[in-house]
């Protein structure tokens, strides 16, 4: 029985013989086909969308992934690959008439080569495990808040960001090579340990493609020397706009902090209840982290402190050591989970605006929130203009979930109008596919599809995601040849 407020896909039935063929590859114990057991895979972090796949398979290695995809390709059965299932856009939502490929068992760290600053892992390895594998001499910067659970394969699919993007960039700036199994079961190596191998930048095309171009079975990551020093401060302000002014001045002053994060009053209140940071009640908190050479960090920290005071910060806390820094970060990184303390349900969005438009967009969010009668807590990566408005609602109240979605959609429209994007790091998935058309025209979408068709002409990889409407590929075009009737002058091409 579908629960109220959830979007549940119809349950399908496996075609004859499919389960047997899959079991022959992975064995009965790594094939999940019972409806109860399949519930573990029915959604990702966007729990409002649910579907039960025909089956889930848990391959152990690349060869098994290839064998599985060959079977599915021959039978034209669609599939969805899944990492830790912590994504927030429904990118790993199963399809009811397809198979879910869970990559959790591909979790070997294959090589740690700090001489050449490379780490090679299987996709099921978590982000935090990569960070731990290279510390303390090296550093892997992308750090989504879910880093303890989220997998590198998922990070690659979504081009995951995190709090340190403003200085260090995103997953795509750190992936050098991928092993990819195409939908027909063929295995290709894209890029590699070295930079600029000959050929198209297919690594760049696959990172962030949300599982629609194939299954990544191996990832070569670049890591960098760990910064010499790290300084973290949190400043508290009466209003978000005062904090916003500090952000503008920091950037205008040529500083490039490792992180500039902001939380508003509601987000602070929730975090305080959840993790007890002992922060004062404030209209906004601004977290600034500086890293790099010792001498530079200290002078920049002094400049940031002075700017905070000049713009009315009533309290500034500087972390004295790593323990205190973790404490300051805990409030920020627990912000999503903390919403449970102040609201039954929440719906998180991921819009981006040009950084200078942050004050405008925050005002618009305030008025949209008032107009819809729903509270919105704001947590955001202020340095790169990436907002995470959390729309709070009661999933048991009829119609509230829909109102929350409508409100969130209006926030995204405002972001696009301000020259920004509907998603900075969470991906389009199913969640925002209907809004992709607000950023891109029909010719843009048709051009995206050309890429997808080059990799997966049968349209089996994660169907129904990213693109607003289903599209077919058609045959691989050959060289243009005039039709015999044209040549004979009998017909003209219009």
């Amino acid at each position: 029985v579908p629960q109220r407020g959830y979007i549940v896909a119809v349950v399908g039935t496996a075609p004859d013989g499919l389960l047997g063929e899959l079991a022959a590859i992975v064995g009965r114990e790594r094939l999940v086909a019972h409806a109860d057991a399949l519930r573990a895979y029915e959604s990702d972090g966007l729990t409002r969308h649910r579907a039960t796949p025909l089956a889930a398979v848990l391959p152990d290695d690349t060869a098994e992934v290839q064998a599985i995809l060959r079977v599915l390709h021959r039978r034209r059965v669609p599939w969805v690959a899944r990492g830790a299932g912590s994504g927030l856009s429904g990118g790993a939502l199963p399809v009811a008439d397809g198979v879910l490929i869970a990559l959790t068992r591909l979790r070997r760290v294959l090589e740690i080569d700090l001489q050449d600053a490379r780490v090679t892992v299987e996709p099921g390895v978590t982000n935090a495990e990569v960070c731990a594998a290279v510390t303390p001499s090296h550093y892997y910067p992308p750090d989504p808040s879910s880093q303890v659970v989220c997998s590198i394969g998922g990070n690659v699919a979504e081009n995951a960001g995190g709090a340190h993007c403003f200085k260090y960039g995103f997953t795509t700036n750190y992936v050098c090579g991928l092993e990819l199994v195409l939908a027909d079961g063929e295995r290709v190596e894209l890029g590699g340990s070295e930079l600029d191998r000959p050929g198209y930048d297919l690594v760049g095309a696959v990172v962030g493609s949300e599982g629609t171009l194939g299954v990544v079975t191996k990832v070569v990551l670049r890591v960098i020397p760990a910064p010499e020093a790290v300084r973290t401060l949190v400043a508290f302000f009466e209003t978000p706009s005062s904090a916003g002014e500090v952000v503008s001045e920091v950037v205008a002053g040529g500083m490039v902090p490792a992180a500039i994060e902001m939380m508003d009053a509601l987000a602070l209140q929730a975090a305080e209840q959840a993790v007890g940071t002992g922060f004062p009640a404030a209209g906004a908190a601004l977290l600034v982290e500086l890293d790099g050479p010792d001498a530079e960090c200290d002078s920049q920290l002094a400049r940031v402190q002075a700017l905070c005071s000049a713009h009315g910060a009533f309290e500034v806390r500087v972390a004295a050591d790593a323990g205190e820094r973790d404490l300051l970060w805990r409030a920020r990184k627990s912000a999503f989970a903390a919403m449970g303390r102040i609201s039954k349900s929440y719906y998180v969005q991921d819009g981006v605006v040009p950084r200078t438009r942050l004050p405008d967009i925050l005002r618009q969010i305030d008025s949209l929130s008032a107009a819809h009668g729903l509270r919105v807590a704001n947590v955001f990566h202020a340095g790169d203009g990436n907002l995470h408005p959390l729309v709070l609602y009661d999933s048991d109240a009829p119609g509230e979930a829909e109102r929350a979605e409508a409100l969130a959609a209006l926030i995204l429209s405002a972001c696009v109008e301000a020259g920004g994007s509907i998603t900075g790091e969470h991906g389009v998935g199913v969640d925002k596919k209907h809004q992709l058309g607000s950023m891109f025209s029909e010719p843009d979408l048709a051009t995206f599809q050309r890429l997808r068709c080059a990799f997966d002409p049968a349209g089996l990889a994660n169907p129904g995601k990213v693109m607003p409407t289903p599209r077919l590929c058609g045959e691989v075009p050959g060289p243009y040849r005039r039709h015999p009737l044209e040549q004979a002058g009998v017909a003209e091409r219009l």
Binding site: G161, N173, D201, V352, G420, S441, P443, L451
Partner: protein
């Protein structure tokens, strides 16, 4: 049309708008005329292989009238620019606001290289050490396909994952998928000052050790380069900002254990880096080869450069090196020796005299499965093979 990719094509058109470019490509497609895309023509032969596309009637599209600075959002550190603007002109415009595009490839004859050409060729210079390649700095593109489709990908903001990242795909595609007409770019502040720690060496092993020390240290250098020719050379680490001279001096102290190395700090350091950039290119009828290397194999690369009488420059922490050969030597034999000695590292031909191209694969052996995927990609974007047909990317080469 002869096999020489630099043979002047039938007609050159210089559209003044994206719409004009689209109309031109549509019209030529209807007549089955292929188009060679060009900016300042400083790297026009890169990736070409004389047998590819030689039977097709060819005309040219010159991007240099698509040269406007469409937006410069100084507060957001972003810009949108026409592909035909010269990179030097773009940098001048941005410098007025104390900003730059942190991309410093060699600019070619008359410093004329366009931003579109630099991105289409994926070229970069010493700043790549800290700021990345074109693919890392291009936020979005507006492209025109041979059937006249005008499409955008990416965005104008520094963080965006909506839609496929075609900007990265087009960077380095050598014009084989379509025309890059406009680019949206991430900018960085211009540094208040720079200083370079310059280390002289005559012992390649000592130089390689010093490179490792610098690569692994948390220096946050702007650039970290090597230069080597005929048994001598050096290591260069460039620092930016108020503390640059102090940081350069501190870097030299890391090499105190290397008695054979002499170091000094240079404040007026731009000429050093101009030289580094220019040494990535061959002159006249010379050969230049880009090597996708690994930092730990620098010593091998230095030795093979000496053995072949070549000049080497490169990014030590990234493992990217350029070898240039003076005219006159047996370039085909040198390239073969290089590829064998450094295998499995890939050695990509950049500059080469036309007569040599017919005898060289631009990139050596490649995985056939990958080439097939590239072929499928190219044919999806340009079904009739009318876009830069002389460039061999996305094609299986006849045995070279």
């Amino acid at each position: 049309v002869s096999g020489d990719p630099l043979t002047p094509p039938g007609e050159t058109a210089s559209p003044a708008s994206v719409a004009e470019a689209a109309a031109l490509l549509t019209e030529r497609s209807a007549s089955e005329i292929a188009t060679r895309l060009r900016g300042a023509a400083t790297k026009l032969d890169w990736g070409t292989f004389p047998d590819a596309g030689s039977e097709i009637a060819m005309a040219e599209l010159d991007t240099r009238r698509l040269d406007s600075l469409i937006e410069h959002n100084a507060g957001d550190l972003t810009a949108v620019v026409g592909a035909g603007r010269s990179l030097a002109t773009l940098q001048q415009s941005l410098a007025g606001a104390g900003q730059r595009l942190a991309l410093d490839p060699p600019l070619g004859r008359s410093a004329a290289a366009t931003i579109g050409g630099v991105c289409a060729s994926g070229d970069s210079g010493p700043l790549r050490h800290r700021y990345g390649a074109p693919r890392d700095l291009v936020l979005g593109v507006r492209i025109v396909l041979t059937d006249g489709t005008v499409a955008r990908a990416g965005s104008k903001v520094i963080k965006n994952v909506a839609g496929y990242d075609l900007a990265k795909l087009f960077c380095g595609s050598l014009g084989t998928l379509g025309l890059i007409a406009e680019l949206s770019l991430r900018l960085h502040p211009l540094p208040s000052q720079t200083a370079t720690a310059l280390v002289d060496a005559t012992d390649p092993a000592a130089l390689a050790r010093a490179s490792t020390i610098f690569s692994k240290a948390p220096l946050e250098a702007e650039a970290l380069d090597v230069a080597w020719r005929h048994g001598q050379g050096g290591l260069l680490a460039r620092f930016a900002g108020e503390a640059a001279p102090t940081r350069a001096a501190a870097a030299l102290e890391l090499l105190a254990g290397e008695a054979a190395l002499q170091g000094e700090v240079r404040d007026n350091d731009e000429p050093l880096w101009e030289t580094q950039r220019n040494l990535q290119r061959a002159h006249e009828d010379g050969l230049s080869v880009r090597i996708s290397g690994r930092p730990s194999r620098l010593l091998d690369a230095l030795r093979v450069a000496d053995a072949l009488g070549a000049t080497l420059v490169g990014r030590v922490a990234l493992g990217l090196w350029w070898l240039t050969f003076d005219p006159g030597a047996d370039h085909a034999a040198s390239l073969e020796h290089l590829r064998v000695t450094l295998a499995p590292l890939k050695c990509v031909v950049q500059d080469a005299p036309p007569a040599l191209r017919a005898r060289l694969s631009p990139w050596g052996e490649r995985d056939p499965g990958l080439v097939e995927l590239e072929r499928r990609l190219r044919v999806r974007f340009d079904p009739s093979s009318l876009c830069n047909p002389a460039v061999a990317l996305g094609r299986a080469l006849a045995a070279a």
